[in-house]
Amino acid sequence: MPVSSLNSQKQKTSLVTLVGPPNSGKSTLYNLLSGSKAKTVNYPGSTIEYSISRFLKHFDVQAALVDSPGIVSLMPDSPEEKLSIDYLFSHPKYGSPDLIVITADASQLSRHLFLVQQVIDTNAKVIVALTMIDLLNKKGYDISVNRLNQLLKCDVIPVNGRNGKGLDNLIDSIKKNLKKKKSKVIYNYKNDYGTKLVDIYKTTEFIENEVLYPIGEGAKQKTADNDLLYDELKIKSDIIKIKPDERTLKLDRLFLNKYWGILIFLLIMASVFTSIFWLAAPLMDIVDLLFTTLSNNVTTLFGETWFSNLLSDGIITGVGSVLIFIPQIMILFLLLGFLEDTGYLARGAMLVDRPLSKIGLNGKSFVPMLSGFACAIPAIMATRTIKNKKERFLTIFIIPLMSCSARLPVYALLLAFLLHGSPFLSGITLALIYLFSITSSLIIAGIINKYQSKIIKVKDSSSFILELPTYRLPNIKNVIRNTITNANHYVKRAGPIIIIFSLVIWFLTYFPNSNPVITNSGDLSKKEVLELKSSERLTNSYASMIGNFIEPVMKPLGMDWRIGVSIITTFAAREVFVSSMAMIFKVTDTEGDLRTSIVDAMKNAKIKDTNKKLFTTSTVIGLIVFFVFALQCISTIAVSKKETGGWRLPILQLVIFTTMAYVLTFITVNGLKLFGVE
């Protein structure tokens, strides 16, 4: 759904904004209302950006629906939060909402009514979507929706995010409320929060006591809104005291245990990262087969012409070598999505808070850092949940070191070279690379924290307060949907860049000497002539001319201009490295599959004018080290600038990480050679 098309109709279309505290079921509701076409980017962790979409057609609501980041209160205590709240009432792109739908978790009513009460006090037109009534019932209580409706003086609609029950009532209420006149919103951030907040809580406590009534422990039966039952049971009950979910308490005794908790945490993290490799292997073979067949067919169809060369070597190989990693990327998102949906991620954050605080980070850095393994861009945006500016900047600083999914294709290629395609060893080695990148990032964070007064230049008090959500079985449909959306984003972002770069590189390597003359004195076979031709073509190509400039930089690393050119192309997107390598090392052998043919070409590549192999164990390990550290992503630099409000941090990141990459690669390659590893 293109946002611009919604914007252009802003005047005519009404705007419905979803608001709610974290874990209140807001995103679930957004997905139910907006369908699969939603433009929501719900990365693991939280909704961090405003996103907009239309209501599903069959609801027949003429309005746009906006999802907002979860907030606890309308009283901001940081500039980021102030911005979130300002945008809620008047978004620079989407305007001000005609209607606000607030999700509130019925099983923690007094806490979630806190935000509801604040929003109602602004005089905005409000509907309350009451979620998690099933959980409230499990705790032995039920709720009188009518009474709540009377007390709040706005529509209260029970909905079940798990099965979509109540959605029709919500839609009816939205339609009805949209017909009413828009109200004038008044809100101001006051500083007398001490008494003010306590007063709001006194109100919500009173309401909670009024509307909840016990139905007996573990009662399954659900009364839609049985006022008779309410009157009868209410009289008998005294003060309502909701207890935390029993099962959650039990599980926490294990997951937050001083010793078992840490062990389980490490096991979970390790299995996530190793399974990226071995779960994906069979799926990757399928994608691979598809593209190899395609490439072969093109060659058979068009013969040995420049056009067929462009299609098979340029576009199909280029796109295929990147699309083949979609399974790995999807598995990463799937696993992170599952972890988040079960409620475990918050526990992870709690477990690592103490160690992270030692090096100037925060437990809340955990989820952004973990998302960084998918992509640095949403990860950097997710740091908005970190209140303390120093901790936030430090987290942003090290996020580019997390092994993002764009590096996966690169590592996979290099590991295929090193380990001859054993999925088991590759999985373990990949886990080691991840461990290495995390350790390095923590060390760097520690060092920077020590000298941070020079680099980051902000002071703030540090804190860590986080709600631990109830453990739940993950909502598989939602997790899968988010995974598909994210994979889609990956393809849409990387796809065009890869095609363009494939074309550019194909052009640079094919011209100007597109048809070199080979003097065949008769003793050369047809195949050898073709091989000679392509190597002659490459040696005199534009790419080679550019390469001569960077050759001096690459030489100390034991590498040549061909790798240099491939690395330059990664500044558009890291994964382009694979397609660039594929093309530059001339994957002419269309018999094998994509990965192995690049690997074969790598094995055969020689250093210019010598018989020495270009790719050796040491240079390939060196390349891995290079990719661990180098900041080769223009989008990351742009987001870092936007989120830190200046060029200082992104430029420091670029300079420090890229220099480190070069120096450490130099040390690795030459150090390994010194120890006799070629």
Partner: protein, 71 residues
């Protein structure tokens, strides 16, 4: 005494919130208000952060933050 001094499984009633503490606004917003009953449920490695139940929810917080909760 403050919530940071609670032992494993110990319950207490909040007497007051120290408004001079830098985290006091957050603490109040999360539902720690005077009169509420709280219980310490978990201590992680190094005994920090801790998790406390309030109003039927579980909140993880550092001991530094818990010091604003007077019991």
């Amino acid at each position: 005494m403050t919530a940071a001094d609670l032992e494993f499984g110990q319950k207490a009633t909040i007497r007051n919130i120290d408004l001079t503490h830098p985290s006091s606004q957050r603490i109040l917003e999360f539902g720690f208000t005077p009169g509420q009953e709280i219980e310490l449920l978990n201590k992680t490695l190094f005994n920090d952060p801790i998790s406390i139940s309030v109003r039927g929810s579980l909140i993880a917080l550092r001991k530094d933050d818990a010091e604003s909760i007077q019991i």
